[in-house]
Protein backbone atom coordinates (compact mmCIF):
# COMPACT_ATOMS: atom_id res chain seq x y z
CA UNK A 1 0.00 0.00 0.00
CA UNK A 2 1.40 3.37 -0.95
CA UNK A 3 1.23 5.72 1.99
CA UNK A 4 -0.45 8.97 1.04
CA UNK A 5 1.82 12.02 0.79
CA UNK A 6 0.50 14.08 3.65
CA UNK A 7 2.60 17.20 3.66
CA UNK A 8 5.59 18.30 1.71
CA UNK A 9 7.59 18.70 4.92
CA UNK A 10 7.76 14.97 5.51
CA UNK A 11 10.58 13.35 3.57
CA UNK A 12 9.83 9.65 4.01
CA UNK A 13 7.12 7.62 5.67
CA UNK A 14 7.38 4.67 7.93
CA UNK A 15 6.09 1.66 6.06
CA UNK A 16 2.50 0.65 6.71
CA UNK A 17 2.64 -1.58 9.78
CA UNK A 18 1.30 -5.11 9.61
CA UNK A 19 0.47 -7.85 12.10
CA UNK A 20 3.98 -7.81 13.59
CA UNK A 21 3.18 -4.33 14.93
CA UNK A 22 0.07 -5.62 16.71
CA UNK A 23 2.18 -8.39 18.19
CA UNK A 24 4.66 -5.83 19.49
CA UNK A 25 1.84 -3.78 21.07
CA UNK A 26 0.52 -6.78 23.01
CA UNK A 27 4.00 -7.78 24.03
CA UNK A 28 4.53 -4.33 25.56
CA UNK A 29 1.14 -4.60 27.24
CA UNK A 30 2.29 -7.75 29.02
CA UNK A 31 5.60 -6.14 29.93
CA UNK A 32 3.79 -3.15 31.48
CA UNK A 33 1.34 -5.39 33.31
CA UNK A 34 4.05 -7.63 34.76
CA UNK A 35 6.14 -4.66 35.88
CA UNK A 36 3.07 -3.17 37.56
CA UNK A 37 2.31 -6.43 39.36
CA UNK A 38 5.92 -6.60 40.59
CA UNK A 39 5.64 -3.00 41.81
CA UNK A 40 2.44 -3.76 43.68
CA UNK A 41 4.05 -6.85 45.16
CA UNK A 42 6.99 -4.82 46.41
CA UNK A 43 4.64 -2.14 47.77
CA UNK A 44 2.67 -4.69 49.75
CA UNK A 45 5.90 -6.34 50.84
CA UNK A 46 6.96 -3.02 52.37
CA UNK A 47 3.65 -2.95 54.23
CA UNK A 48 3.76 -6.54 55.44
CA UNK A 49 7.36 -6.61 56.64
CA UNK A 50 9.23 -4.60 59.20
CA UNK A 51 12.61 -3.89 57.73
CA UNK A 52 15.15 -1.31 58.82
CA UNK A 53 14.77 2.03 57.10
CA UNK A 54 17.72 1.55 54.75
CA UNK A 55 16.30 -1.66 53.27
CA UNK A 56 12.93 0.04 52.81
CA UNK A 57 14.68 2.76 50.83
CA UNK A 58 16.42 0.16 48.67
CA UNK A 59 13.08 -1.48 47.82
CA UNK A 60 11.57 1.92 47.04
CA UNK A 61 14.54 2.57 44.77
CA UNK A 62 13.79 -0.64 42.88
CA UNK A 63 10.15 0.47 42.49
CA UNK A 64 11.31 3.83 41.08
CA UNK A 65 13.58 2.10 38.55
CA UNK A 66 10.71 -0.19 37.48
CA UNK A 67 8.48 2.86 36.97
CA UNK A 68 11.14 4.48 34.80
CA UNK A 69 11.23 1.29 32.73
CA UNK A 70 7.46 1.52 32.26
CA UNK A 71 7.81 5.16 31.20
CA UNK A 72 10.47 4.16 28.68
CA UNK A 73 8.23 1.50 27.11
CA UNK A 74 5.21 3.81 26.91
CA UNK A 75 7.17 6.64 25.28
CA UNK A 76 9.32 4.53 23.02
CA UNK A 77 6.78 1.97 21.78
CA UNK A 78 3.27 3.31 22.40
CA UNK A 79 4.12 6.90 21.47
CA UNK A 80 6.49 5.67 18.73
CA UNK A 81 9.25 8.03 19.80
CA UNK A 82 11.74 5.22 19.30
CA UNK A 83 10.74 5.11 15.60
CA UNK A 84 11.44 8.80 14.97
CA UNK A 85 14.74 10.07 13.65
CA UNK A 86 17.53 10.87 16.06
CA UNK A 87 17.30 14.66 15.79
CA UNK A 88 13.70 14.50 16.91
CA UNK A 89 14.35 12.11 19.81
CA UNK A 90 17.13 14.34 21.11
CA UNK A 91 14.99 17.48 20.96
CA UNK A 92 12.57 15.78 23.39
CA UNK A 93 14.96 13.84 25.60
CA UNK A 94 17.71 16.42 26.14
CA UNK A 95 15.44 19.11 27.69
CA UNK A 96 14.02 16.46 30.03
CA UNK A 97 17.51 16.04 31.49
CA UNK A 98 16.64 19.16 33.50
CA UNK A 99 14.66 16.81 35.73
CA UNK A 100 17.87 15.28 37.07
CA UNK A 101 18.82 18.57 38.70
CA UNK A 102 15.20 19.48 39.47
CA UNK A 103 14.50 16.31 41.48
CA UNK A 104 17.87 16.13 43.24
CA UNK A 105 17.89 19.81 44.24
CA UNK A 106 14.37 19.95 45.66
CA UNK A 107 14.44 16.65 47.52
CA UNK A 108 17.80 17.64 48.99
CA UNK A 109 16.33 20.96 50.02
CA UNK A 110 13.33 19.36 51.73
CA UNK A 111 15.58 16.91 53.54
CA UNK A 112 17.89 19.68 54.68
CA UNK A 113 14.93 21.64 56.06
CA UNK A 114 13.86 18.59 58.04
CA UNK A 115 17.34 18.13 59.49
CA UNK A 116 17.55 21.78 60.49
CA UNK A 117 14.17 21.61 62.22
CA UNK A 118 15.08 18.42 64.04
CA UNK A 119 18.27 20.06 65.25
CA UNK A 120 16.85 23.39 66.36
CA UNK A 121 13.19 22.59 67.10
CA UNK A 122 13.13 19.69 69.57
CA UNK A 123 9.39 20.03 69.99
CA UNK A 124 8.86 19.34 66.29
CA UNK A 125 11.13 16.32 66.53
CA UNK A 126 9.37 14.83 69.55
CA UNK A 127 5.93 15.47 68.16
CA UNK A 128 6.48 13.93 64.75
CA UNK A 129 9.18 11.30 65.01
CA UNK A 130 8.15 7.71 65.51
CA UNK A 131 9.15 4.12 65.14
CA UNK A 132 8.22 2.56 61.83
CA UNK A 133 5.67 -0.01 63.03
CA UNK A 134 3.69 2.57 64.96
CA UNK A 135 2.19 3.75 61.68
CA UNK A 136 0.81 0.33 60.84
CA UNK A 137 -2.86 -0.36 60.56
Amino acid sequence: MDQQHVTSEVTFHHHVPGPENVKRIWKIFWVLLIITVIELGLGLFLYATDFPHSLDLAIKGVIVILSLAKAFYIVSIFMHLGDEIRNMIMSIVVPLMLFIWFIAAFLWDGNSYKNLRNTYDKHFKERTEQKKDAGKH
Partner: protein, 293 residues
Protein backbone atom coordinates in the same frame (compact mmCIF):
# COMPACT_ATOMS: atom_id res chain seq x y z
CA UNK B 1 11.65 2.79 8.44
CA UNK B 2 13.04 3.89 5.14
CA UNK B 3 16.24 2.41 3.81
CA UNK B 4 19.36 3.78 5.52
CA UNK B 5 20.54 5.19 2.19
CA UNK B 6 17.61 7.64 2.02
CA UNK B 7 18.30 8.87 5.52
CA UNK B 8 21.97 9.42 4.77
CA UNK B 9 21.49 11.29 1.51
CA UNK B 10 18.75 13.52 2.84
CA UNK B 11 20.00 17.00 3.65
CA UNK B 12 17.85 17.62 6.69
CA UNK B 13 18.85 21.19 7.39
CA UNK B 14 18.75 22.68 3.87
CA UNK B 15 15.19 23.92 4.23
CA UNK B 16 11.97 22.93 2.52
CA UNK B 17 11.49 19.86 4.67
CA UNK B 18 11.06 19.04 8.33
CA UNK B 19 14.46 18.24 9.84
CA UNK B 20 12.57 15.94 12.18
CA UNK B 21 10.64 14.25 9.37
CA UNK B 22 7.37 15.12 11.13
CA UNK B 23 4.49 17.30 10.13
CA UNK B 24 3.97 20.48 12.11
CA UNK B 25 0.97 19.41 14.21
CA UNK B 26 2.57 16.28 15.54
CA UNK B 27 5.80 18.02 16.41
CA UNK B 28 3.90 20.71 18.31
CA UNK B 29 1.96 18.02 20.17
CA UNK B 30 5.28 16.59 21.30
CA UNK B 31 6.48 19.98 22.51
CA UNK B 32 3.20 20.62 24.28
CA UNK B 33 3.53 17.27 26.04
CA UNK B 34 7.09 18.10 27.04
CA UNK B 35 5.94 21.34 28.66
CA UNK B 36 3.08 19.48 30.34
CA UNK B 37 5.62 16.98 31.66
CA UNK B 38 7.42 19.86 33.34
CA UNK B 39 4.16 21.08 34.87
CA UNK B 40 3.37 17.67 36.31
CA UNK B 41 7.00 17.22 37.25
CA UNK B 42 6.97 20.49 39.18
CA UNK B 43 3.86 19.45 41.09
CA UNK B 44 5.27 16.05 41.99
CA UNK B 45 8.66 17.46 42.94
CA UNK B 46 6.99 20.05 45.16
CA UNK B 47 5.15 17.19 46.85
CA UNK B 48 8.40 15.29 47.22
CA UNK B 49 10.12 18.32 48.69
CA UNK B 50 7.43 18.73 51.37
CA UNK B 51 7.42 15.03 52.07
CA UNK B 52 11.18 14.98 52.55
CA UNK B 53 10.83 17.84 55.04
CA UNK B 54 8.58 15.79 57.36
CA UNK B 55 9.49 13.17 59.93
CA UNK B 56 6.13 11.47 59.51
CA UNK B 57 4.22 10.85 56.31
CA UNK B 58 1.05 8.74 55.91
CA UNK B 59 1.55 5.16 54.77
CA UNK B 60 -0.29 4.71 51.42
CA UNK B 61 -1.26 1.19 52.47
CA UNK B 62 -3.22 2.70 55.35
CA UNK B 63 -4.81 5.50 53.30
CA UNK B 64 -5.79 3.52 50.20
CA UNK B 65 -7.17 0.28 51.58
CA UNK B 66 -10.80 0.37 50.49
CA UNK B 67 -12.59 -1.39 47.65
CA UNK B 68 -16.20 -0.67 46.68
CA UNK B 69 -18.62 -3.06 48.35
CA UNK B 70 -16.21 -4.51 50.91
CA UNK B 71 -16.94 -2.21 53.85
CA UNK B 72 -14.15 -1.98 56.39
CA UNK B 73 -12.04 -4.79 54.94
CA UNK B 74 -8.36 -3.89 54.84
CA UNK B 75 -7.39 -4.27 51.17
CA UNK B 76 -4.36 -2.07 50.60
CA UNK B 77 -3.74 -0.96 47.00
CA UNK B 78 -6.46 -3.23 45.58
CA UNK B 79 -8.63 -0.52 44.07
CA UNK B 80 -5.76 1.50 42.64
CA UNK B 81 -4.50 -1.67 40.93
CA UNK B 82 -7.84 -1.85 39.13
CA UNK B 83 -7.51 1.80 38.10
CA UNK B 84 -3.96 1.26 36.85
CA UNK B 85 -5.02 -1.78 34.88
CA UNK B 86 -7.88 0.15 33.26
CA UNK B 87 -5.49 2.91 32.18
CA UNK B 88 -2.86 0.53 30.77
CA UNK B 89 -5.60 -1.30 28.91
CA UNK B 90 -6.98 1.90 27.40
CA UNK B 91 -3.47 2.84 26.32
CA UNK B 92 -3.24 -0.46 24.44
CA UNK B 93 -6.59 0.10 22.70
CA UNK B 94 -5.43 3.61 21.75
CA UNK B 95 -2.24 2.37 20.15
CA UNK B 96 -4.30 -0.25 18.30
CA UNK B 97 -6.53 2.57 16.98
CA UNK B 98 -3.41 4.40 15.75
CA UNK B 99 -2.26 1.17 14.12
CA UNK B 100 -5.57 0.82 12.24
CA UNK B 101 -5.28 4.50 11.29
CA UNK B 102 -1.96 3.76 9.57
CA UNK B 103 -3.81 1.17 7.52
CA UNK B 104 -6.64 3.67 6.82
CA UNK B 105 -9.12 1.17 8.26
CA UNK B 106 -12.05 3.27 9.42
CA UNK B 107 -13.98 0.45 11.14
CA UNK B 108 -10.88 -0.61 13.06
CA UNK B 109 -10.13 2.95 14.20
CA UNK B 110 -13.70 3.43 15.40
CA UNK B 111 -13.78 0.14 17.28
CA UNK B 112 -10.57 0.81 19.20
CA UNK B 113 -11.37 4.49 19.82
CA UNK B 114 -14.65 3.42 21.37
CA UNK B 115 -12.87 1.02 23.75
CA UNK B 116 -10.38 3.75 24.63
CA UNK B 117 -13.18 6.17 25.48
CA UNK B 118 -14.90 3.55 27.63
CA UNK B 119 -11.62 2.90 29.46
CA UNK B 120 -11.20 6.61 30.13
CA UNK B 121 -14.74 6.93 31.48
CA UNK B 122 -14.26 3.86 33.67
CA UNK B 123 -11.09 5.38 35.11
CA UNK B 124 -12.87 8.66 35.86
CA UNK B 125 -15.70 6.81 37.61
CA UNK B 126 -13.16 4.94 39.74
CA UNK B 127 -11.50 8.19 40.66
CA UNK B 128 -14.85 9.76 41.56
CA UNK B 129 -15.58 6.85 43.89
CA UNK B 130 -12.12 7.07 45.44
CA UNK B 131 -12.37 10.81 46.12
CA UNK B 132 -15.88 10.45 47.51
CA UNK B 133 -14.75 7.65 49.80
CA UNK B 134 -11.78 9.67 51.09
CA UNK B 135 -13.72 12.90 51.61
CA UNK B 136 -16.80 11.40 53.28
CA UNK B 137 -14.94 8.79 55.35
CA UNK B 138 -15.38 9.03 59.12
CA UNK B 139 -12.15 8.14 60.85
CA UNK B 140 -11.55 8.72 64.53
CA UNK B 141 -8.76 11.16 65.32
CA UNK B 142 -7.60 12.57 68.64
CA UNK B 143 -7.12 16.33 68.35
CA UNK B 144 -6.73 18.71 71.31
CA UNK B 145 -7.70 15.91 73.71
CA UNK B 146 -11.00 15.26 71.94
CA UNK B 147 -12.11 12.49 69.60
CA UNK B 148 -13.28 13.77 66.21
CA UNK B 149 -14.58 11.95 63.16
CA UNK B 150 -13.03 13.33 59.99
CA UNK B 151 -12.36 12.40 56.37
CA UNK B 152 -9.50 13.42 54.15
CA UNK B 153 -9.94 16.96 52.87
CA UNK B 154 -7.72 19.91 51.98
CA UNK B 155 -8.06 21.13 55.56
CA UNK B 156 -6.98 17.97 57.35
CA UNK B 157 -6.77 14.22 57.23
CA UNK B 158 -6.98 11.32 59.68
CA UNK B 159 -3.72 9.61 58.64
CA UNK B 160 -1.38 10.68 61.45
CA UNK B 161 0.44 8.58 64.03
CA UNK B 162 -1.47 5.84 65.85
CA UNK B 163 -2.53 6.83 69.38
CA UNK B 164 -1.46 4.71 72.31
CA UNK B 165 -4.48 2.47 73.25
CA UNK B 166 -4.48 3.63 76.89
CA UNK B 167 -4.63 7.28 75.83
CA UNK B 168 -7.34 6.47 73.30
CA UNK B 169 -9.45 4.71 75.95
CA UNK B 170 -9.19 7.73 78.21
CA UNK B 171 -10.20 10.12 75.42
CA UNK B 172 -13.19 7.93 74.57
CA UNK B 173 -14.37 8.02 78.18
CA UNK B 174 -14.78 11.79 77.98
CA UNK B 175 -16.30 11.86 74.49
CA UNK B 176 -19.88 12.98 73.84
CA UNK B 177 -22.43 10.20 73.16
CA UNK B 178 -23.01 11.25 69.49
CA UNK B 179 -19.41 10.40 68.65
CA UNK B 180 -19.56 7.14 70.63
CA UNK B 181 -22.81 6.20 68.86
CA UNK B 182 -21.10 6.66 65.48
CA UNK B 183 -18.10 4.58 66.55
CA UNK B 184 -20.32 1.83 67.98
CA UNK B 185 -22.18 1.83 64.68
CA UNK B 186 -19.06 1.66 62.52
CA UNK B 187 -17.02 -0.66 64.76
CA UNK B 188 -19.54 -2.81 66.64
CA UNK B 189 -18.39 -5.48 69.04
CA UNK B 190 -19.53 -9.01 68.20
CA UNK B 191 -23.27 -9.39 68.65
CA UNK B 192 -24.01 -5.77 69.54
CA UNK B 193 -25.11 -4.42 66.14
CA UNK B 194 -27.84 -1.82 66.39
CA UNK B 195 -29.29 0.86 64.15
CA UNK B 196 -27.69 4.30 64.40
CA UNK B 197 -30.82 6.05 65.69
CA UNK B 198 -31.19 3.41 68.42
CA UNK B 199 -27.55 3.90 69.39
CA UNK B 200 -27.96 7.65 69.55
CA UNK B 201 -30.48 7.28 72.39
CA UNK B 202 -28.14 5.18 74.56
CA UNK B 203 -26.05 6.60 77.39
CA UNK B 204 -22.30 7.02 76.99
CA UNK B 205 -21.16 4.23 79.32
CA UNK B 206 -23.34 1.67 77.57
CA UNK B 207 -21.95 2.76 74.19
CA UNK B 208 -18.37 2.51 75.46
CA UNK B 209 -18.85 -1.20 76.04
CA UNK B 210 -20.17 -1.71 72.51
CA UNK B 211 -17.17 -0.38 70.58
CA UNK B 212 -14.78 -2.92 69.14
CA UNK B 213 -11.47 -1.52 70.35
CA UNK B 214 -9.53 -4.18 68.43
CA UNK B 215 -10.49 -2.71 65.06
CA UNK B 216 -10.93 0.92 65.94
CA UNK B 217 -7.67 2.70 65.22
CA UNK B 218 -7.49 6.19 66.58
CA UNK B 219 -4.83 8.37 65.03
CA UNK B 220 -3.56 11.89 65.24
CA UNK B 221 -4.28 14.23 62.37
CA UNK B 222 -1.83 13.70 59.51
CA UNK B 223 0.40 16.28 57.84
CA UNK B 224 -1.98 18.89 56.46
CA UNK B 225 -0.25 19.11 53.06
CA UNK B 226 -1.14 15.50 52.26
CA UNK B 227 -4.76 16.23 51.26
CA UNK B 228 -3.95 19.25 49.13
CA UNK B 229 -1.22 17.46 47.21
CA UNK B 230 -3.27 14.32 46.73
CA UNK B 231 -6.39 16.09 45.48
CA UNK B 232 -4.42 18.69 43.53
CA UNK B 233 -2.24 16.27 41.62
CA UNK B 234 -4.70 13.41 41.08
CA UNK B 235 -7.28 16.09 40.21
CA UNK B 236 -5.00 17.65 37.62
CA UNK B 237 -4.35 14.20 36.20
CA UNK B 238 -8.08 13.40 36.27
CA UNK B 239 -8.72 16.62 34.36
CA UNK B 240 -6.25 15.44 31.72
CA UNK B 241 -8.08 12.13 31.50
CA UNK B 242 -11.36 14.02 31.16
CA UNK B 243 -10.08 16.28 28.38
CA UNK B 244 -8.49 13.22 26.72
CA UNK B 245 -11.89 11.51 26.70
CA UNK B 246 -13.43 14.62 25.11
CA UNK B 247 -10.69 14.73 22.46
CA UNK B 248 -11.18 11.02 21.77
CA UNK B 249 -14.94 11.48 21.40
CA UNK B 250 -14.30 14.25 18.86
CA UNK B 251 -11.87 11.98 16.99
CA UNK B 252 -14.37 9.12 16.99
CA UNK B 253 -17.07 11.41 15.61
CA UNK B 254 -14.75 12.74 12.91
CA UNK B 255 -13.73 9.22 11.94
CA UNK B 256 -17.38 8.12 11.81
CA UNK B 257 -18.23 11.05 9.52
CA UNK B 258 -15.44 10.06 7.16
CA UNK B 259 -13.44 13.27 7.66
CA UNK B 260 -10.13 11.40 7.78
CA UNK B 261 -10.98 9.27 4.75
CA UNK B 262 -11.57 12.46 2.74
CA UNK B 263 -8.29 13.89 4.02
CA UNK B 264 -6.55 10.72 3.02
CA UNK B 265 -4.80 10.20 6.33
CA UNK B 266 -5.48 9.50 10.00
CA UNK B 267 -2.76 11.70 11.47
CA UNK B 268 -5.22 13.33 13.88
CA UNK B 269 -5.69 9.95 15.56
CA UNK B 270 -1.93 9.80 16.10
CA UNK B 271 -1.92 13.22 17.75
CA UNK B 272 -4.84 12.33 20.00
CA UNK B 273 -3.02 9.07 20.73
CA UNK B 274 0.09 10.94 21.85
CA UNK B 275 -2.00 12.92 24.32
CA UNK B 276 -3.72 9.82 25.63
CA UNK B 277 -0.46 7.94 26.14
CA UNK B 278 0.91 10.95 27.97
CA UNK B 279 -2.00 10.70 30.40
CA UNK B 280 -1.04 7.08 31.01
CA UNK B 281 2.60 8.09 31.39
CA UNK B 282 1.75 10.67 34.05
CA UNK B 283 -0.30 8.06 35.91
CA UNK B 284 2.82 5.86 36.13
CA UNK B 285 4.42 8.60 38.23
CA UNK B 286 1.33 9.62 40.18
CA UNK B 287 0.84 5.95 41.05
CA UNK B 288 4.50 5.73 42.05
CA UNK B 289 4.57 8.86 44.21
CA UNK B 290 1.22 8.55 46.00
CA UNK B 291 0.42 4.87 46.18
CA UNK B 292 3.61 2.85 46.04
CA UNK B 293 6.37 4.62 47.95
Amino acid sequence: MSSPATAQETRWWNGGRSPFNLEYGKLMMWYFLMSDAFTFGAFLISYGSIRFSQNFWPDPNVVFNALPGTGHMNLPLAFVSVMTFILIMSSVTMVLAVHEGHRSNRQGVMKWMLWTILGGIAFLLCQAWEWHHLITGEHAVLADGKIELIGQTMGGNPWGKLIDPAVAQQALATSPPEILAHLAHEYPKEGTTAALDALEKMPANQLLGMIDMEHLHIREKGPIAFGGYFFGITGFHGFHVFSGVIINIVMLTMAAKGVFDRRGHYLMIEKAGLYWHFVDLVWVFVFLCFYLI
